[in-house]
Amino acid sequence: MRAVIIGATAGVGRSLAERLARQTADLVLIGRDARDLEVVADDLRLRSGAKIYPVLLDVAGMQSPQLCEAIAASVGVIDALFVIAGVTDPDDRGLLSETALDRITQVNFVGPAKLINALLPLCGPACHIVIAGSVAAIRPRGVNFVYGASKAALEFYAMGLRHAFGSRLDSVACYRLGYISTAMTFGQQLPFPATSPEAVADVMVKNLGRSGVFYFPGWWSLLAMLLVRLPWSLYKNLRA
């Protein structure tokens, strides 16, 4: 398998890279910090013997032609594209600065959408596209709503792709992820237990070939059903 992972240096992206490298997949790892990217690539090469191609790139400032060239020169054809990169901001609970708002929307939606758009011609006939969404996209609330909006937009885009390219792509899956033990949630008081990045990576790889929107952990689907049906008069009183 030839896979591309956007946001491969930490958290779920790194776990995915480790998981896929164990299956001796050829991997293109995309990250924005050269130090982390090189180290992750070296580690995977040593442990697994897989072919690893690190590509230094900030999703928010993506250079499509260069990226396509790099991927064409390395793995050539893409069998699986994982879009994992994401950022949030602790101030995302009111009026955000323009810079922060721009950063969140660029990294979580605009960048990935441009990237998928650019890479589609390189996708093979049985390519899987896997998107890391968020439960923040279930229903807007007073915190993380810019983040939630950007993830919802990405999910919308991914499902549009599924509809438009259903015959060309093997699958398009978007995972609405609950709380994951990553730097994004570190130190936060979470209402529900966090899942490990390794568990998320396992599910994403095992379910390759399935299309649609999925919750992980699965019990979030029940909570989501309740949340979307909750009358506004009650919902507005939920703690932000």
Partner: protein, 432 residues
């Protein structure tokens, strides 16, 4: 500023609880924080017996995400890895390629950085030395001076190997590893009637053994019978199963170690160890005896007191009967008593040198503490050196008397960490 959260830490020996903060950076731009104001300390797996990676109002920088292999050269046998990698992970990588670390302490989750910071010893310090003897260079981060590399002879290296994390955060290191013929070893037990007999056998065999130590049942002060345990790596290939990989979580339990149960525990351990005589076991099982032994620490209830002291060979025969006398006088019953031999010079403030090391585990109670205070005096008078990474109540005075190179270390530390930003419970207690 490191993203952090308040955390209550408990030392592995269960004696020390402290409120601090924890950060767990997962990328270099977060790790390389330039905040010089807050007290910090690096934290590997938090498996030191003493509170070396935590402190009151200290920010512990957890290194668990920095666990990557950076390079490996099969010709030279040199591996480079980030400090947060565990010994178990390193061994999983090295063993199938015919290599292993020369020095490995008893749990697979112990980190590479922790091994360097505590300059740990393994299963035969006479042949293998201590961990620093195999480190070729290390990268050290300090918010004030940034990232710096040091090799043997440099201040960075000399003060950080066995510097208990007080010189900065060890980020990565290059380590020379040893070729190993197989993935299994045979254990042989030689019964001994006393410490003296064990000491004699250890001196005869330590130079060539792959693994050698002695275990003694010292529940009666005048009887020290036991076994010399010797291991030889076999030229047997195959897979080395990591049968016990459970994390060692510091947790207190219901106190079950007392004068009635300690002899029973020792009898059970004697039975267990006897069954291993002549057995061929996977190397990880032999190298990591503490894996899967979390219950042992909980049996002590309010924690265990471990005292490990290195006594010059020529004073050993006179030393241990005095310890036996103190045990009788204070009515203390050691649970575990073990001997290992060491060879070589003192190295900074590390637990290293030439002599025989005695390790005892005691229940953490008033009598145990009073006994150990008396033992500190005996150690000092005998020229003994206590291991500061094992003993949570070792005081500044005894430590100072036993560490002739302390002043040199303090000067080196002042050069590397002039404001004393790096500190821990251990450093506060020992006046470092």
């Amino acid at each position: 500023m490191y993203p952090r959260k308040p955390a209550q830490f408990l030392s592995i020996d269960g004696t020390t609880i402290v409120d601090g903060c924890l950060a767990e950076p997962d990328r270099y731009r977060v790790l390389y924080d330039r905040d010089e104001t807050n007290p910090i300390i690096g934290r590997g797996s938090g498996l030191s017996y003493v509170a070396a990676s935590m402190g009151k109002d200290v920010l512990s920088i957890g290194m668990r995400h920095f666990d990557r292999l950076l390079s490996f050269d099969t010709e030279t046998g040199i591996v480079e890895a980030e400090a947060g990698i565990s010994l178990g992970a390193l061994l999983r990588f090295l063993l199938p390629r015919g290599f292993m670390l020369a020095v490995m302490p008893g749990h697979p989750n112990i980190s590479l950085g922790g091994c360097i910071a505590a300059d740990v010893h393994g299963k035969n310090p006479v042949r293998d030395g201590t961990f620093r003897d195999h480190v070729l260079s290390l990268d050290l981060w300090h918010p004030r001076s940034g990232l710096r590399r040091g090799g043997p002879g440099s201040v960075i290296f000399d003060a950080s190997c066995g510097g208990y994390g007080l010189t900065g955060i060890i980020v990565s290191a290059r380590v020379r590893v040893r070729r190993v013929e197989g993935v299994k070893a045979r254990l042989n037990l030689t019964p001994v009637k006393s410490f003296d007999e064990a000491h004699e056998i250890l001196q005869q065999r330590a130079a060539s053994a792959d693994l050698i130590y002695s275990w003694h049942d010292w529940t009666k002060p005048n009887r020290t019978s036991g076994f010399v345990v010797e291991g030889a790596v076999l030229e047997e290939q195959g897979t080395a199963a990591f049968t016990r990989t459970a994390a060692l979580q510091p947790r207190r339990g219901f106190p079950l170690m007392n004068r009635v149960t300690i002899p029973l525990f020792n009898a059970a351990y004697r039975f267990k160890i006897l069954r291993q005589n002549g057995a061929v076991l996977p190397l990880p099982e032999i190298l990591f005896p503490l894996a899967g032994m979390g219950f042992y620490f909980r049996l002590y209830g309010n924690g265990l007191l471990e005292h490990q002291v290195l006594v010059p060979h020529d004073r050993w025969s006179a030393y241990w009967p005095k310890v036996a006398g103190l045990l009788s006088a204070y009515g203390v019953h050691p649970v575990v008593s073990s001997l290992k031999l060491f060879a070589g010079p003192r190295k900074g403030i590390s637990f290293a040198g030439d002599g025989v090391s005695l390790t005892i585990n005691l229940v953490n109670d008033r009598r145990g503490r009073e006994f150990l205070e008396a033992l500190d005096l005996l150690d000092c008078d005998t020229g003994g050196v206590a291991n500061p990474i094992k003993d949570s109540r070792l005081g500044k005075q005894a430590f100072g008397r036993q560490a002739p190179m302390l002043m040199q270390f303090m000067e080196q530390r002042a050069a590397l960490d002039p404001n004393g930003q790096f500190r821990s419970c251990m450093s506060e207690r020992l006046g470092l």
